[in-house]
């Protein structure tokens, strides 16, 4: 009888021990394998260069779906006007990563609407002037700000030819975990870099555009839709005279 009890006890201890070991090790193994499966575990390479093609002939006047989508995706809409600020001041001080602009040609009078954001230059002036190197260009062509080394001097905003950057003028109480932000730092369009790192396709603005005016893709891939579209028809860079080789190209202006 006592022999039997001992057997049970031994089995129990053995099973319990294995279960305990598994419960300790398994989540680690699981996390490890998940982490390694994610693109963010791999070093970013210059085998790809992300970019956008914007067809202004398709961009609808008065539509700002891309702006709303960007605000939601990156948590810009979580930021409210500070108590005491006027609407006019807030309009100039709130962060804006993408904006719609309507322009008229001086000669022909032709009017076009277009979204404008960081142009993700190959030779970005914002990166050149940043004293600490916080403003940087990833190997895959995305230009962004390291929020840990940005001291908030705004020299990059002085240097950007597209006025694409925003300074955070007030305290940030709520933010998305995928898009860290903070008061006193500069930020701008990241081509939804968190999507790249989590292996999610597209950008918020491109997905939201029901007119198909924004095309996101790999400029280095000869078979990508964006490369084919660029080869098919003429396109321009904004401020092409500066020879920055922008990653965002426009059609129809």
């Amino acid at each position: 009888m006592s022999e039997k009890i001992d057997q049970n006890r031994r089995e129990f201890v053995s099973v319990a021990g294995k279960a305990a070991a598994a419960s300790v090790v398994a989540p680690g193994v699981l996390l490890h394998s998940i982490a390694h499966a994610e693109p963010r575990a791999e070093p970013v390479t210059d085998a790809v260069r992300y970019g956008l093609l914007i067809d202004t002939t398709k961009c609808a006047d008065g539509c700002s779906d891309c702006v709303s989508a960007c605000d939601k995706e990156n948590g810009l809409d979580l930021l409210g006007k500070p108590d005491g600020a006027t609407d006019e001041d807030w309009a100039r001080q709130k962060p804006r990563w993408i904006r719609t602009v309507k322009v008229k040609d001086r000669l022909s009078g032709h009017v076009s609407s277009l979204p404008l954001m960081c142009q993700h230059c190959e030779h970005p002036p914002c990166v050149d002037v940043c004293p600490t190197g916080a403003s940087f260009r990833r190997a895959d062509g995305i230009v962004m700000v390291d929020r840990h080394t940005c001291i908030g001097c705004r020299y990059c905003m002085m240097a950007c030819p597209y006025k694409a950057r925003s300074f955070i003028h007030e305290n940030i109480k709520v933010k998305l975990s995928a898009v860290p932000r903070g008061k006193g730092c500069v930020e701008s369009c990241t081509l939804c870099v968190h999507r790249r790192d989590y292996g999610v396709a597209g950008t918020a603005c491109a997905d939201a555009c029901e007119h198909g005016a924004i095309l996101f893709g790999d400029l280095n891939d000869p078979n990508s839709d964006i490369t084919k579209a660029l080869q098919e028809r003429n396109h321009t860079q904004l401020r092409a005279d500066l020879k920055l080789n922008t990653g965002v190209r426009y059609r129809g202006i």
């Binding site: 322009v103 004293p131 940005c150 001097c153 950057r165 006193g184």
Partner: protein, 405 residues
């Protein structure tokens, strides 16, 4: 030339402490302004995503530029061997250091993340002129401190000329670096000119000397020390020449711009229809900051009167602040030519619709920070001349000029 003796600044204690008390109150108010801006964020200032550098930068850059200019008086004595200026070297070095420190402090306190100064001091991007400037500024402070030591310590006197030359060359590079902060910006029509660097150098000559003259006259007059007309006459003539040189540079800068059609809109903005920027350019910088001081300084009677020299120096300083406002803020307020062939009709982020100027309205905290910087420079200077032998006991004509009488 007689041997020059130096003595601590010996005005009566109540007056001295009264002065310091006034400056301390200004500093305290400026301190609260800084805390307010840092606690709330920059939304409490007039700066925004269009005009990102405001009044603090106007004051900071003016002080940094003036700092390098204040050192010129010493350089005239050591580098160019003009004995008459040798006795002025100590105050010159002191002002150079206090003005630079104050200018830098304003810049640092305006950062979005001033607590990350350590990052700025340890992490560098050497393609940035800003990063180079951090070295140039720190180096300037070290070299000028050494320069002062060679002036004030007998045993170090044999290094006086060498360190003086180094300090002079360094200050030229430093102001080149400061001018290049703007000169290297290709995107904005108001900047992107190699000429800004030499223009900043000549501006520094005038602004530094104007501040030097005022401090010299105030400290000497307050204590009743002799300050001869001979020396003052030389310094005021130099100021007149420096201001004339700025005038020349401003003329060439705008004439060059006017020749190229691409710059016409920017030139029209500054010279004709830019509102506050046009007013500040013509009235502040050109008229009050250059023409009137030149008229006073070169006038046979006014130029030789103490009141005339004080008025001219004050006007040069005010004109300098106006100049910085036009360059720093006017250069940003002019809308960027993102679409050179097009007119912007609508924008979700301002952008200067129809070519309108971008909006900036300076706020009180910004002015307080800037004025606090000026108060700090003056305060430290006054404490230093009180504690150490920076000021010559006399600058009477017979002391400074061997041929006098």
């Amino acid at each position: 030339m007689k041997k020059i003796y130096y003595r601590e600044w010996g005005i009566e204690s109540p007056r001295y402490w009264g002065l310091l008390a006034v400056l301390t109150v200004i500093l305290a108010v400026a301190g609260f302004a800084v805390l307010h801006m840092e606690h709330e964020g920059h939304w409490v200032t007039g700066m925004n995503n269009e005009v990102v550098w405001g009044v603090p930068h106007v004051f900071a850059i003016f002080l940094i530029v003036a700092a390098s200019g204040a050192l010129n008086v010493a350089a005239l004595g050591s580098v160019f061997g003009k004995h008459i200026y040798k006795s002025l070297g100590r105050l010159s070095g002191l002002l150079a250091m206090t003005l630079l420190l104050s200018g830098l402090l304003i810049l640092v306190l305006d950062l979005g993340q001033p607590s990350r100064l350590i990052v700025a001091m340890t992490t560098y991007n050497f393609k940035s002129i800003f990063a180079w400037n951090i070295y140039l500024y720190v180096g300037f402070l070290v070299i000028v401190a050494a320069y002062l030591f060679t002036m004030m310590e007998r045993k170090a006197q044999r290094f006086y000329k060498g360190v003086g030359l180094l300090a002079f060359v360094w200050r030229l590079i430093l102001t080149t670096g400061t001018g290049s902060i703007f000169g290297f910006i290709v995107a904005r029509p108001g900047y992107d000119a190699a000429m800004l660097a030499p223009m900043f150098i000549i501006m520094s000559f005038a602004y530094g000397l104007a501040i030097y003259l005022l401090v010299l006259m105030f400290t000497f007059d307050a204590e009743g020390r002799a300050l001869g007309d001979k020396l003052l006459g030389r310094l005021k003539s130099l100021l007149g020449i420096f201001v004339s040189a700025i005038f020349y540079f401003v003329l060439v800068y705008h004439l060059t711009n006017l020749y190229g059609t691409e710059n016409h809109e920017y030139e029209a903005f500054i010279l004709l229809n830019g509102g506050i920027y046009t007013t500040l350019f013509w009235v502040g910088w050109v008229l009050l900051g250059m023409l009137v001081p030149m008229a006073i300084l070169f006038h046979p009677a006014l130029g030789n009167s103490r009141g005339g020299i004080i008025a001219a120096s004050l006007l040069v300083i005010l004109g300098g602040l106006a100049a910085m406002y036009v360059i720093v803020i006017g250069g940003q307020a002019f809308p960027m030519p993102i679409f050179p062939d097009k007119i912007i009709l609508e924008s979700g982020f301002q952008d200067g619709i129809g070519g309108a100027a971008l909006y900036y309205s300076p706020s009180l905290p910004e002015f307080l920070l800037g004025i606090g910087g000026v108060a700090l420079a003056l305060g430290v200077t006054l404490v230093a001349v009180r504690m150490l032998k920076f000021l010559p006991a006399s600058l009477a004509d017979e002391v400074v000029d061997p041929h006098h009488g």
